[in-house]
Symmetry: C2
Subunit: 223 residues, 2 copies
Amino acid sequence: MGKSDTATPRERYRAQVRTEIKEHAWQQIATAGASALSLNAIAKQMGVSGPALYRYFAGRDELITELIRDAYRSLADTLGAAAAEGADLSGLAHVLRGWALADPHRYFLLYGTPVPGYHAPDDTTAISSEIMATLLTACAALVPEAPEAQAAQEATEAPFATHLEKHRAWAGDHPAPPAALHLAMSFWTRMHGVLSLELAGHFTGMRFDPDRLFAAELDALLP
Amino acid sequence: MGKSDTATPRERYRAQVRTEIKEHAWQQIATAGASALSLNAIAKQMGVSGPALYRYFAGRDELITELIRDAYRSLADTLGAAAAEGADLSGLAHVLRGWALADPHRYFLLYGTPVPGYHAPDDTTAISSEIMATLLTACAALVPEAPEAQAAQEATEAPFATHLEKHRAWAGDHPAPPAALHLAMSFWTRMHGVLSLELAGHFTGMRFDPDRLFAAELDALLP
DNA sequence: TGTGTTCGTTAGAAGTTGTAACTCATCGCG
DNA sequence: CGCGATGAGTTACAACTTCTAACGAACACA
């Protein structure tokens, strides 16, 4: 089991308490939202005194940062596993939706209203581009390989795709054609649009089925 | 000037102080976000003591509710004015974008991560459907009037539009055809998807121009 | 078995929301 | 004009939050 064998007892205990704290934090976030996360309440729930938690997290911000990191990791792993099992872009969409519905607060922690002073650490942006990479692979599988002549024609018809091609630093060195870059961005923004409005409860009251809206948007997206 | 003439001096003073409080609140939200809004800080900025503000707002929640109401009102008026001046759906999209970019925190107050215990009062949902009405009018102007034969054909091709037609309570009694209902929902979710990710800063680092992504999504949406 | 690291505790500072009670200015009415 | 009711602003306080400091006790390791 990798690290836990080589660790000293103290380190193992420390890691265990850290995860226990995070579990209580998730539970608290799920009921009251991230803004209501209270270190004192977690301590009380664990039966220890308030300042004890500061041995494990420098403060509320570091705890939240850790939760964000875990959430990104979970999403990247979930999408990555689905892709490894052969899911196409449509499959990834449904996996994403399931992941978001399983814990709306976790989704909002990643893609909701940004925390005022918070700045994402480097490794979360790394995980974020890992997600983007699996997305790009699925998108590239849907976009037909364009011969040169057709590519030139596309350049005049799809100005945004060529714009993305000129600023493709965010795609890393992923070998996705311009149309796939465009498809990935549309996928991201549209799925997020439907999901975030649904999770925020903006569709309650309207009586239609959010499932069908999601399916319709997905259908309109796929080439 | 309507009400302010008939009001007693006390009431006029009260209304003035209320708007002054709200102005400071907006200023504070713009710099630190809604979650960091502090009645004490507002009081200090206004040169009065903390509890003095409780004469004007029952608490933090009521102040935020009032700010949300004002934000909805502002958005509805802005879109309504644009529509009255002849803006089509594309024009409304750009007006919406301008409104959101002018004060991102205000946008997130309406469409961002929901506040845990908060439940929107009735009149905000009324304003919300006012917004939806101007949207539906603009959408209806874009979809062609369908003869009966064509409508029957559409019913099999556009299942979500017919689903919306069966659950069109949210559209009030607006006489928009099913295709317009569908277009309005797509408009809402897609524009929100691009805007909220942009405003949350998820595109910083990627070097492309958010303006062009917005334009591309809008272009893909219009029939 | 000692020794030093680390954990958890209590005490306290500085901040927040919100309530209670009191003073005092002001508004309206006789 | 004067007097009484209304309401604004004050201080004091309770209960909460994050977070620091100092102390005792438990534990791992040599």
